[in-house]
């Protein structure tokens, strides 16, 4: 969609019905996404192993959080038209008419500039550049280009969600070595099985909005196969921190055991008929799961737990000074 169309789309969003409260602007920043980004960014910053002044470390995490929030606001501005068509998103401030599109755009642009400039001044310009790239990638490459164009949208766009630990690492050291990219790769490879498992039982919503999610484009069977392939690549990748001096024995145990469960759930999903059932009752809630899609829900839920455990273990090991195994390097 061209920028002029986007502006006209933004202009077509519902007229503001109720006065915007400050909480509506906070909602534009996607606080739940911010909390995940804070967690992974903090893990990168701590795993870097470089002593950073606690105040500057706090500023770095704040900048990552605000940058993520800014890209969320830009996303909500541009996607107001499709958000209005989906049950999951129709209550967002812009499609619900509580905030004008132009105000969401202004908030996103201003917060992007503030977060990048503060990161550059307080930490270093490599971290600031990576933060600016991440905002650009999510707001422009993913939101404007990929999301409405290709079923690979969340695969490529997943890079934006995978970069915060790299930014955290860069903020602490001014460099981005292999271990920082391993953290990035883990989140990047986690994204497709996570989102496609969800889309197997929410694809009706995306269909209404015309968003080409994988189950709609390639079908449920192909999606289940691709989820299995990504899971086969993702789970061994989670063990690599043990080889490169990043993860210790606790991490090895969590990654190996969790990886086995992840694979088991992916195989069960592959063998299931999740996503095949087309009929859906009108009174179904958005996240109500049809019988065949239970396996998709299980993998989706476990994927969140597994990624959280991986990063929490790395964070805990580094904070407690557990010696990494360093089996390869």
């Amino acid at each position: 969609m061209a920028m002029s169309e986007a502006l006209s789309t933004a202009a077509k969003t519902p007229a503001v019905r109720a006065p915007a409260r400050w909480q509506d602007f906070l909602q534009l920043l996607k606080p739940r996404v911010m909390s995940l980004v804070v967690f992974t960014g903090l893990t990168g910053l701590v795993c870097a192993g470089q002593p950073v002044h606690p105040f500057l470390a706090g500023v770095a995490i704040l900048c990552i959080a605000v940058g993520a929030g800014a890209s969320g606001a830009l996303n909500m501005w541009y996607d107001a038209d499709i958000d209005a068509k989906m049950r999951r998103t129709r209550g967002r401030p812009v499609p619900a008419g509580r905030v004008q599109g132009a105000d969401a755009l202004a908030l996103g642009v201003v917060l992007s500039m503030f977060s990048v400039m503060l990161m550059g001044m307080a930490l270093n310009w490599l971290a600031a550049g990576l933060l600016a790239f991440t905002i650009f990638f999510y707001a422009v490459v993913y939101t404007v280009w990929l999301k409405r164009w290709t079923a690979q949208n969340i695969v490529i766009g997943g890079l934006a969600g995978a970069l915060p630990p790299v930014i955290g690492w860069a903020a602490a050291t001014g460099t981005v070595p292999l271990n920082a990219w391993i953290l990035c790769a883990i989140i990047f490879m986690w994204t497709p099985p996570h989102f496609w498992a969800l889309s197997l039982y929410t694809s009706e919503d995306y269909k209404k909005a015309g968003v080409p999610m994988m189950p709609l484009v390639a079908g449920a069977k192909s999606t289940r196969k691709q989820i299995l392939i990504y899971s086969l690549l993702f789970t061994p990748l989670c063990l690599t921190p043990v080889l490169t001096g990043l993860g210790g024995p606790v991490y090895l145990a969590v990654a190996a055991l969790g990886g086995l469960v992840f694979l088991l759930l992916a195989v069960r999903l592959f063998r299931s008929r999740a996503g095949d059932a087309q009929a859906q009752r009108k009174d179904d809630g958005l996240y109500d799961v049809k019988a065949g899609a239970k396996d998709a829900r299980n993998l989706f839920a476990f994927s969140i737990l597994y990624l959280t455990l991986l990063f929490a273990t790395l964070l805990g090991e580094h904070l407690m000074g557990v010696k990494p195994l360093d089996l390869l390097l």
Binding site: A18, P19, A20, R21, W22, F25, H53, F55, L56, V59, L62, F114, L118, M121, A122
Partner: protein, 50 residues
């Protein structure tokens, strides 16, 4: 008949809330920049011979 140009109580409350949030945000940013300056300058100043 009420004047449409005159804001309602709800609008006034919402605007007041937005203004306070904006003021707090700006104040926090100013404090952040000030403390960052002190922290970054502090190490250099401490190394100066007096």
């Amino acid at each position: 008949m009420s004047d449409p140009a005159r804001e309602s109580d709800a609008e006034a409350r919402a605007r007041r809330g937005r203004n306070i949030a904006l003021a707090l945000g700006l104040a926090i940013f100013v404090v952040l920049v000030f403390v960052v300056t002190i922290v970054k300058l502090g190490a250099s100043v401490a190394r100066q011979p007096f």
